[in-house]
């Protein structure tokens, strides 16, 4: 079972993503509400996949992504973006995100994105 770490400042989003993924056979090993905690959790838990919100307080998703890739250059990070954040998505891709998904998304899209990582 794929272990997933969810990084998002909104509890609702964490909850939603968790529910969608658990229904589809993913194991949620941890959650984090900002980039800094996200990187720590990554180090502790070494999950297979990270879903990473882009806009977050303290440390944003792109910075967290860069830090995570310093730990594991092959880390599978899926950015979770909102509409209109194209520049940020571009920067994430350049920084090495494996893919991205745009809110609002449906369960099947999320699952497909994760399975393509």
């Amino acid at each position: 079972m794929k272990k997933v770490l969810i990084v998002d400042d909104a509890a609702f989003m964490r909850h939603t993503i968790k529910a969608m993924l658990e229904k589809n056979g993913f194991e949620i090993v941890g959650e984090a509400e900002n980039g800094t905690i996200g990187v720590e959790r990554y180090r502790e838990l070494s999950p297979d996949i990270v879903t990473m919100d882009i806009t977050m307080p303290e440390k944003d998703g792109i910075e967290a992504l860069k830090d995570i890739r310093k730990i594991d250059s092959n880390a599978k990070v899926l950015m979770v973006s909102a509409m209109g954040q194209e520049k940020l998505v571009k920067n994430s891709i350049i920084a090495g995100a494996k893919g991205f998904i745009v809110k609002p998304f449906k369960e099947d899209k999320l699952v497909e994105a994760l399975s393509k990582l």
Binding site: S81, E86, K90, I93, G99, F100, K109, E112, A113
Partner: protein, 682 residues
């Protein structure tokens, strides 16, 4: 396989099947040409190569691995032949391989059509093709030199571009899933993921970031990329296909001259590829929409529905304009409007009919293959000549025509055309001839199958018919035509003349029945040692017929107008009875049987005196007779509807009813089956 298979949408699968079938037909034509000319041209080789390449690509996209492997091996073979200019080819061997490939693919496609898994094993055929390729390679060592020269040229050319010699140039078009959002960034991600495998990239839209419409454009038109890669087709394809939210990948390998396309070039190319029959390009974008902008393909079911609807409109129109409630009203402007409606409906009907008409050519051309295979099998040398290919017939009728035609051709070749020796002994050309012709005679199409074989033997037919108890009158009284039509009787074809081809357990009676099912009839003319001509007359369309309404008691029947010869009141002195007490009527010196419709359908009618009612003389292929009804109500065009399923349990088939129709006043009328009634009641 199944999962991937299901990922593709129905239209795409349909398009795949349609295009592959078309390619198969094309291929067959090329091969038959090669065989009849006993030589293969450069164009043929190119064309076969191109077709194989296309099917390889599209079948691999559809994940039909066996088809793509098989076509790949044949593609390799023809690549070798083309590149090395191999002229000393065993044409028989070669065309057998290609024919086997056609058969394999056609079988797989028919499985897909039925919703089954295309699971045929291509292995042995593929290895046969590979063996043949290897033997060619051994026999043509010089070819290698030519090939390497060729490659040198390429290398020089490529090195200018700074690309290594193993590079392959590709053009790809990628469509992302609907609603995956930010398509431009999807494209950007894909490019990044491909980075290590590809170089010399250009793409459309060129600007992924500053162009505000880039996302929308990609969503609508796809993301086009041209690039160079050292990876093979399969690898590149799967790299692209594995991209996140990638829905569809169109990938083609191209040759160096065509490489690097600008925006405008790609667009132009898309439109003109076919016209220029770009042999230089190994085109593989089989999923691009129909290139000929003026033609669309439509599902037949939709056409049937449209036809049905038009029929309903025609009926409803007369329900409105001939509504009894309008009787005796002054309706000047209403009538004017009604006339206009009628006119428009007629036009609509004509147009819809014309859309359904397709040319008979392709059905005819399929027969080439049968003649070829049978010639081989039977050691005969028969030529098939085709004319009238452009004659158009309703699509539904064409579909039912294939089998009977095939059977008749087989019969001609098997039983009609003599062996070479026999023909020479008779002073005939060693080569037999079968001509297949179609001609439009107004309301009908007449298809004739003519052979110059030995003809039907009247005595043998009579002998056989009497052995099988099929004779209803003494042979001396029968005309040739009547004798020949005996072979259409069920039970005539016996085991002794069933060979692999004409046999298959299907007799001429089945042929006759399928022709009659589409409202047609079949006739034979034959001359001993001169040949046999079989003519099939079929209506242009089934859906709408001109009918004569006649009443019997409270029921209204429709008689197809084409079958009616005349109608008249009976005179007492003309009425006679035959030996078995059957009613007959004398007209101009001939006696015709009378069939009382109220008896046939067990109806109560006030009019049982034959002098009071009306007699309608109808004719079938075999006979003429008179129907007795109460009165004639008038002519009307009717839309033929099949008899509803729930009635079929009552053996309606031989009941004298061919179908039903709804009349202007919403009454239902049964359409009489004139030959059916003749068979049952005379």
């Amino acid at each position: 396989m199944t999962e991937d298979f299901n990922n593709y949408s129905e239209p795409m699968l349909e398009m795949f099947m349609f295009e592959t079938n078309q390619s198969m037909e094309q291929l067959e034509e090329i091969l038959l040409n090669i065989e009849s000319n006993s030589k293969i041209t450069d164009d043929d080789i190119n064309e076969i190569f191109r077709i194989m390449h296309t099917i390889k690509g599209s079948s691999s996209m559809m994940m039909f691995g066996n088809i793509s492997k098989l076509t790949h091996s044949l593609e390799d073979l023809f690549y070798f032949i083309r590149e090395n200019k191999v002229y000393s080819l065993d044409l028989t061997k070669l065309s057998d391989l290609v024919f086997s490939t056609i058969d394999f693919i056609s079988l797989e496609i028919s499985k897909i059509e039925k919703g089954e898994e295309p699971d045929g094993d291509e292995g042995s055929l593929t290895s046969q093709i590979k063996d043949y390729l290897n033997s060619l390679k051994e026999d043509n060592p010089t070819g290698e030199i030519i090939l390497s020269e060729d490659e040198n040229q390429h290398e020089n050319f490529i090195s200018k571009e700074g690309i290594t010699e193993n590079s392959i140039k590709y053009i790809a078009k990628i469509f992302f899933q609907e609603d995956c959002k930010m398509e431009n960034m999807r494209a950007f991600t894909l490019l990044r993921d491909m980075e290590e495998y590809i170089s010399d990239v250009s793409h459309i839209p060129e600007d992924l970031f500053d162009d505000n419409d880039a996302s929308e454009k990609i969503a609508k038109e796809g993301f086009s990329i041209s690039f160079v890669s050292e990876e093979n087709y399969e690898k590149v394809f799967s790299l692209l296909k594995d991209g996140m939210f990638v829905e569809l990948v169109e990938l083609e390998e191209i040759e160096i001259e065509d490489y690097k396309l600008s925006d405008s070039e790609i667009k132009e190319d898309d439109l003109e590829e076919d016209a220029s029959s770009g042999i230089k390009k190994n085109v593989n974008n089989s999923f691009s929409l129909n290139k000929n902008k003026n033609i669309i393909s439509v599902n037949v079911e939709k056409m049937d529905m449209l036809m049905d609807l038009v029929g309903e409109i025609v009926i409803t129109e007369s329900m409105v304009t001939k509504n009894p409630e309008l009787k005796n009203l002054e309706l000047e402007s209403f009538n004017k409007a009604a006339r206009q409606l009628r006119k428009l409906n007629n036009e609509l009907q004509d147009i819809v009919m014309s859309i359904r008409m397709i040319q008979i050519g392709p059905t005819f051309h399929k027969m080439h293959r049968i003649v070829r295979d049978m010639n081989k099998q039977l050691g005969k040398n028969t030529k098939l000549e085709i004319s009238g290919e452009e004659t158009e017939v309703d699509k539904n009728i064409i579909d039912t025509l294939g089998e009977p035609l095939m059977h008749l051709i087989r019969n001609s070749l098997d039983h009609g055309i003599e062996s070479k020796e026999e023909r020479i002994a008779k002073g005939k050309d060693e080569r037999g001839l079968i001509s297949l012709d179609a001609i439009n005679t107004g309301g009908d199409v007449v298809i004739s199958i003519q052979d110059d074989g030995k003809g039907l033997d009247r005595n043998k037919i009579i002998e056989k018919a009497s052995k099988n108890n099929l004779l209803t009158k003494s042979p001396e009284d029968m005309s040739d035509k009547e004798v020949f039509s005996l072979i259409f009787l069920p039970g005539f074809s016996t085991k002794e003349n069933i060979t692999e081809y004409s046999g298959r357990g299907v007799g001429m009676d089945v042929v006759k029945r399928s022709i009659e099912k589409v409202g047609g009839n079949i006739q034979i003319e034959s001359e001993m040692d001169e040949g046999t001509t079989i003519s099939i007359k079929i209506p242009l369309t089934l859906a709408i017929i001109d009918g004569m309404k006649i009443s019997v008691g409270e029921s209204i029947f429709t008689v197809p107008t084409t079958t009616i010869k005349e109608s008249f009141k009976a005179r007492k002195e003309d009425l006679i009875k035959d030996a078995s007490d059957n009613e007959m009527i004398m007209i101009r010196g001939d006696a015709y049987p009378v069939v009382r419709l109220h008896d046939v359908f067990n109806l109560k009618s006030e009019t049982e005196d034959i002098m009071e009612g009306i007699l309608v003389m109808v004719e079938t292929e075999e006979t003429s007779y008179c129907l007795f009804a109460d009165e004639i109500l008038g002519e009307q065009q009717v839309v033929v509807k099949p008899i509803p399923g729930y009635l079929r349990q009552y053996k309606v088939k031989d009941s004298g009813v061919a179908g039903c129709a709804i009349l202007g006043n919403a009454d239902i009328s049964l359409i009489l089956d004139i030959s059916g009634i003749a068979n049952e009641y005379i």
